[in-house]
């Protein structure tokens, strides 16, 4: 952690919202990526981002600086996104691309077959990620979306590098099986 970040955190711990805003400016996109990786919908991801920074402001007094700040924030983001996803499972929103769905006639649309294929893939990926155990899901998102190293993931999740590798292996294996119709490439 550099001095500037340490200063921001200290000010934030004393209730300085301007410091929180600077932290927000620095990290909101990373938090959004983690949130979107879990919830796979824009509105939900934005809700998660808001929730994360509100929670951060309330809980930052608990951050003692023993680990890197980003691992603290990533853990908060991941847990919030997973909780949000769990609560949302009870509410279903229908896809717009149902049979007989209306196509606007004013040039706003893309090709319907392309939209349908993209939505189907998105839905299937979201469903498949949802089937993973929480630890495997989090590990995969840290690795595939945020491109954290094994060392960084082990710091964010509080586990050994061996455990990180194991979770990645079994998470990818399960996703391969669940998405085998969607992804090309032979089995192995």
């Amino acid at each position: 952690m550099n001095d500037r970040e340490a200063g921001l955190i200290s000010r934030c711990q004393q209730g300085d919202q301007d410091a929180l805003k600077e932290i927000f400016n620095q990290y909101h996109k990373k938090v959004y990526r983690i949130a979107y990786g879990v919830v796979r919908q824009r509105e939900d991801a934005l809700d998660v981002v808001q929730e994360v920074f509100i929670k951060l402001f309330r809980s930052i007094k608990n951050f003692k600086g023993k680990s890197a700040f980003y691992t603290y924030l990533y853990r908060l983001a991941m847990n919030t996104a997973i909780d949000h996803s769990r609560k949302k499972k009870k509410t279903a929103f229908l896809s717009l691309d149902e049979e007989g769905g209306f196509q606007p006639s004013d040039g706003y649309e893309k090709r319907p077959d392309y939209i349908a294929a993209q939505k189907e893939l998105e839905e299937k990926v979201r469903w498949a990620i949802d089937q993973l155990p929480q630890d495997q899901k989090a590990t995969l998102i840290y690795r595939e979306i945020e491109e954290l190293s094994y060392q960084e993931i082990s710091g964010a999740m509080g586990c050994s590098i061996g455990t990180v590798m194991s979770r990645l292996y079994y998470g990818r294996k399960k996703l391969k099986d669940l998405l085998k119709d969607m992804v090309k490439g032979g089995g192995g």
């Binding site: 824009r42 717009l96 007989g100 209306f102 004013d106």
Partner: protein, 146 residues
């Protein structure tokens, strides 16, 4: 010191007697929605309006055509194209006790088809709808944040 306190208090009294007609920058969100009975779906981006739309109208499908945020400065009109040949012009004409007064004009091919003035507070939505669009109708959802 006494004079300073007295002056301060006099200024306070003066402001408390005046109507608080101040103007502030207002962020207004304009969503253009197509409502119809073709299909059964609601755009996920309209989730916050889901309950209201469902309780107010009998349409089965709501599709978001456009989503814009305009920042209104006092007495400066801002125009947003909504759909073919139509636009909405919004002007902040007043701001009082957490309520923004907005003049809204909907225009079709340069002619006013609706002229209204509404009072918006954060959390309140104004829906302006009815004109036909394709297989359904258009609804404009206005909300403000300040």
């Amino acid at each position: 010191m006494k004079n300073k306190i007295l002056s301060f208090v006099l200024v306070l009294i003066l402001f408390s007697l005046l109507p608080s007609l101040t103007l502030a920058q207002v962020q207004t969100r304009v969503r253009v929605i197509q409502a119809s009975n073709v299909g059964k779906a609601i755009d996920p981006s309209l989730r916050d309006l889901h309950d209201q739309l469902g309780s107010l109208f009998n349409f089965t499908s709501y599709r978001l055509l456009r989503d814009e945020i305009v920042i209104l400065s006092p007495n400066q009109p801002a125009s947003v194209s909504t759909h073919k040949g139509r636009s909405i012009e919004i002007t902040q004409v007043g701001f009082q006790r957490n309520i923004a007064e907005l003049r809204v004009r909907i225009r079709r091919d340069g002619t006013d088809i609706l002229n209204t003035q509404v009072r918006l507070s954060p959390g309140r939505t104004v829906l302006i709808g009815g004109p036909k669009h394709g297989e359904g109708v258009v609804i404009l959802a206005l909300s403000a944040n300040f």
